[in-house]
C-alpha cells in the first residue's frame, strides 16, 4: 500500500504563490496546444459542448461554462464524470465536442466517460497534464496542459492549469466558430496572460485577511461558500479545498439556493464566504451577503476593490483587484480559499489530506483511480 508523506499546510501557500508565474509561463504554450487541436478538427461542425470532470476538474468545468457560452456562443454543459458516464453519454446532441478534464489523466470515471463518446455524435478531447495518460489515450484529441510538479497538494496549480486550458479552448472555439475575429481572439489570449498580474495582486489582498479569518473560523464545524455563474464553480472548488486540506465539512452553493435552504442552517454563526465578482449576479451576491449577515452568519465578502459592498460592515472583506471580465474571474477568485485552507489547517494543527492518518488512495481509501464501472 502506498503511504502518503505527511503534508504540511504551508504547501498550500507555496502553491497559490506560484500561480502568477504559472500563468505567465504557460498561457502561450497552452495556446499552441489548443490551436493545434482546432487545426486538426478543421471542418467539423460544432453545435454543443460538454465538459466533464471529477473533483477539481468538474469545478473547473463549472467555472468555464460562461466563457464557452459568451465567447463561442454555443450551449455548454458542465457535467460531473459519473453523471456523464451513466446518464448523459447516451443522449448526446449531434455535432458535439466532449471535453474530458483530468490533471493526472488517470481519473477512472473520466476515462470511462470519454470512451463512451459516440463518434457519430461528436469528438472527444482531453485537457490533461499527462499526454501519455489513460485519458489521453482514449480521446480523439489531446490538449496537453502540463506544468512543473511542485509536490503533492490539494489541487491549486493543476486547477489553474485546467482553467487556462478551458478558457483558451473557449477563445479559440469562438474564433473557429467565426464568433470572434482573429485579432480579438489574440487579444483575449493576451488578456489571459495578463491575469498573472491580477493573481499576484489578489494574493497580496488575500493573505493577511485569510490568516485572521482562519483563526476566527477554526471553531466552526462547517463553512459555506456562495457564488453564481462561473463563481459557483469557485464556490464548490473552495469547499473542496477546505475539505481536502483540513477536513472541515464545507459546501459550495448557489447564491439563490442559500436563500431557499441553507439560510435555515445551524450554527447561526456559520462562516459564509460570498463571491461577489462584478458581473451578472453581483446584485444578488450583495443581497445574499446582507441576508446572511442579518441572520447572524460570520460573513466574508470577496469583491473588487472599487465595489461599494466593501464599504459595508461585514466580518471580513477582501478587496480583489478590479477586473471586468466575469467569465475569467475564477482564475483569481479562488486564491482566498487556497490561503484560507492552508491557514485553517495550520490553526487546527492538522495536515493536508489527513496525511498523518494514512487515509489515502490505495490504502483503504477512495478509489478514484482504480474504480471500474460494473454492468
Amino acid at each position: 500500500m502506498d503511504k502518503m508523506p505527511i503534508m504540511e499546510p504551508s504547501i498550500m501557500i507555496d502553491q497559490v504563490e506560484s500561480l502568477p508565474e504559472l500563468i505567465e509561463d504557460h498561457v502561450e504554450k497552452f495556446d499552441v496546444e489548443v490551436r493545434k487541436f482546432f487545426q486538426k478538427i478543421n471542418g467539423e461542425k460544432i453545435d454543443h459542448i460538454y465538459i466533464t470532470g471529477c473533483g477539481d476538474s468538474y469545478h473547473a468545468a463549472l467555472a468555464s461554462e460562461m466563457a464557452f457560452e459568451k465567447i463561442s456562443k454555443i450551449n455548454c454543459e458542465a457535467i460531473n464524470g459519473l453523471r456523464f458516464l451513466d446518464y448523459t453519454s447516451e443522449h448526446l446532441l449531434p455535432n458535439s465536442i466532449v471535453v474530458g478534464v483530468s490533471a493526472s489523466g488517470g481519473s477512472a470515471r473520466i476515462v470511462e466517460a470519454v470512451k463512451r463518446v459516440d463518434r457519430s455524435r461528436g469528438v472527444s478531447v482531453s485537457i490533461t497534464g499527462n499526454a501519455e495518460s489513460p485519458i489521453a489515450k482514449n480521446t480523439d484529441y489531446v490538449i496537453h496542459v502540463d506544468i512543473p510538479f511542485m509536490g503533492r497538494s490539494p489541487g491549486v496549480r493543476t486547477y489553474e492549469a485546467s482553467l487556462l486550458g478551458l478558457y483558451l479552448t473557449a477563445i479559440r472555439l469562438g474564433e473557429y466558430q467565426g464568433q470572434v475575429k482573429k485579432e480579438e481572439a489574440s487579444g483575449l489570449v493576451e488578456e489571459l496572460a495578463g491575469l498573472s498580474d491580477i493573481v499576484l495582486k489578489a494574493n497580496q489582498a488575500c493573505q493577511a485577511v485569510s490568516k485572521k479569518a482562519a483563526q476566527n473560523f477554526k471553531d466552526s464545524p462547517a463553512v459555506l461558500f456562495l457564488g453564481s455563474g462561473p463563481n459557483f464553480g469557485t464556490a464548490v472548488f473552495s469547499a473542496a479545498k477546505i475539505c481536502e486540506s483540513c477536513g472541515v465539512i464545507s459546501f459550495g452553493q448557489d447564491l439563490e439556493e442559500f436563500a431557499h435552504v441553507e439560510g435555515l442552517c445551524y450554527p447561526d454563526d456559520m462562516p459564509v464566504i460570498v463571491f461577489a465578482a462584478k458581473g451578472k449576479s453581483h446584485w444578488r451576491a450583495v443581497e445574499i451577503a446582507n441576508y446572511a449577515k442579518t441572520l447572524g452568519k460570520r460573513v466574508m465578502v470577496v469583491a473588487e476593490s472599487d465595489d461599494d459592498i466593501l464599504k459595508q460592515d461585514f466580518d471580513f472583506s477582501i478587496a480583489m483587484p478590479a477586473y471586468d471580465r466575469e467569465e475569467f474571474s475564477p482564475l483569481y477568485y479562488h486564491v482566498i480559499s487556497d490561503y484560507l485552507s492552508g491557514y485553517l489547517t495550520e490553526a487546527l494543527g492538522r495536515k493536508l489530506f489527513r496525511s498523518d492518518q494514512n487515509r489515502t488512495s490505495a490504502a483503504l481509501g477512495s478509489n478514484i483511480q482504480t474504480s471500474k464501472r460494473k454492468n
Binding site: A222, V261, C265, R373
Partner: protein
C-alpha cells in the same frame, strides 16, 4: 409565523399515496392540455428551471426527459438560468427549445423573470405550479396547475411530489408527441406512475421505524451527508434540504463520485452517510461508496430495495423502498424514509420547523422574504 410543530410532517408523508392515486390522471390531462397549447412537437431540448424543492424535482426528473422522451434536458437554478444560461440562447434553434419554470407558489421571482426573459426571445415557455392565477401562469405561454388541497405548513413534501408528477408526466407526453413512444407505451408509463401509490404506501410502512431509530441514534450529530447519482442526486439534495428546513442540522447532498474526490476527507468520521441506491445505472457506484463510508467508520444508512444485499451488507440502517420502481421514477419514492427521519430528528432535538420558534430569526427572515416575492 407561529411556531410550526413538526407533527405536520407525518400528515404530509401519509398523504402521498392518496395524492398520487387521486390526482395523477387529472394531472396527466392537464399536462396533455398544456402541451397542446404550444408547438410541443417541435421540442428538441428542454430546460427545467426552479429553486429549492422545484430545483430538486427538476434534478430528479432530468433522466425521464432524456430516456423516456429522448429529449436532452438541462436543469438550472433560477439564478443561473436568469443571469447566465438565458443570455446565450439566442444563437440556438429557439423554435426547438422549451423552458419549463417550476414554482409551487407561482411567485418565485427568479423563475418568473427567467420565463419572461426567454419569452422575449421567442422561446416556448411552460409553467408547472400549484396555484391557479399565480404570477407565473400569467407569464408562461402555457401552464400546468397542479392544485392539491392545502395542508398545515411543512417542508415541501407533497408539493415536491406534485412537481415531480408534472415534470415526469410532461416527459412521458412529450415522448409520445415527438414519436419516441407509442400511445400504448405512454399509457403504460402513466399506469406505472399510478402504481407508485401502492409502493409509497408500503414504503411508508417499511421505513418509519428505521427512521425513528436512526433519528434517536444520530440526534447529537452536527452534520449529515446524502449521496446519490442521476435522479438520486436530486433526491440527495432534496433530502438535505428537508433536514435543514425541519431542524436546521447542517446537511448536504452530493454525487456518489464527487464524494470520493472531496467529502471522503471530511470530519467527523462518524458523520452519518445516507446512500440513495435505487436499482439503476449508478447502483454499482453506490455499492462501492457504501463500502468506503462503512470502512471509514461513518454510520451508513442505505436507502434501497429490500433484496439489494450487495449494498445492505454495509448498512447500519436500511430504509427499504418497496416495489419495482424504474430509476426514472425513483425520485418519487426514495425520499420517504428521509422525510420520516427529518421529522423524528426534529422531535428528538425538541425543535420546531423552519426555526419558527426562534422569534428573532423569524422577524428578520419574514422581512426579507416579503421583500423578495412578487406578491
Amino acid at each position: 409565523m407561529d411556531p410550526v410543530s413538526p407533527d405536520t410532517m407525518p400528515k404530509n408523508i401519509f398523504d402521498l399515496p392518496n395524492l398520487i392515486k387521486s390526482n395523477l390522471l387529472d394531472f396527466s390531462k392537464k399536462v396533455a392540455s398544456a402541451l397542446n397549447a404550444i408547438e410541443a412537437d417541435k421540442v428538441r431540448k428542454v430546460f427545467l428551471v426552479g429553486d429549492g424543492d422545484s430545483f430538486h424535482a427538476s434534478l430528479g426528473s432530468e433522466m425521464a426527459f432524456e430516456s423516456i422522451a429522448g429529449i436532452p434536458c438541462e436543469v438550472a437554478s433560477g439564478q443561473k438560468f436568469l443571469d447566465y444560461k438565458s443570455s446565450f440562447l439566442s444563437n440556438e434553434n429557439i423554435d426547438e427549445i422549451l423552458v419549463v419554470g417550476i414554482s409551487a407558489s407561482g411567485s418565485t421571482k427568479r423563475v418568473i423573470h427567467s420565463l419572461k426573459k426567454v419569452k422575449e426571445l421567442g422561446i416556448m415557455t411552460m409553467a408547472i405550479t400549484g396555484r391557479e392565477g399565480s404570477v407565473i401562469t400569467e407569464i408562461a405561454d402555457s401552464s400546468i396547475v397542479l392544485s392539491i388541497p392545502p395542508f398545515p405548513p411543512s417542508p415541501g413534501i407533497r408539493s415536491y411530489v406534485a412537481s415531480l408528477s408534472g415534470l415526469v408526466l410532461t416527459a412521458i407526453h412529450l415522448g409520445w408527441i415527438t414519436g419516441r413512444c407509442s400511445k400504448e407505451e405512454k399509457d403504460e408509463l402513466i399506469a406505472e406512475l399510478l402504481s407508485l401509490s401502492d409502493f409509497m404506501n408500503a414504503t411508508i410502512g417499511s421505513t418509519e421505524e428505521a427512521a425513528k431509530l436512526a433519528a434517536k441514534e444520530f440526534k447529537e450529530k452536527e452534520s449529515l451527508i446524502f449521496i446519490g447519482s442521476g435522479p438520486s442526486y436530486g433526491t440527495a439534495v432534496f433530502s438535505a434540504a428537508k433536514i435543514i428546513e425541519a431542524c436546521g442540522v447542517f446537511s448536504m447532498g452530493q454525487d456518489l463520485e464527487e464524494w470520493s474526490h472531496v467529502e471522503f476527507f471530511a470530519y467527523p468520521d462518524d458523520m452519518p452517510a445516507f446512500i440513495i441506491a435505487p436499482p439503476g445505472k449508478s447502483s454499482w457506484r453506490a455499492v462501492e461508496t457504501a463500502g468506503m463510508t462503512k470502512s471509514y467508520g461513518h454510520p451508513t444508512i442505505v436507502i434501497t430495495s429490500p433484496g439489494n444485499e450487495d449494498i445492505i451488507q454495509y448498512a447500519d440502517y436500511v430504509f427499504p423502498v418497496q416495489g419495482e420502481v424504474r430509476e426514472e421514477f425513483s425520485a418519487f419514492i426514495y425520499h420517504i424514509g428521509v422525510d420520516f427521519f427529518a421529522y423524528y430528528l426534529t422531535k428528538e432535538l425538541d425543535r420546531y420547523l423552519f426555526k419558527s420558534d426562534n422569534r428573532d430569526f423569524q422577524k428578520l427572515n419574514e422581512a426579507y422574504q416579503k421583500r423578495d416575492r412578487i406578491r
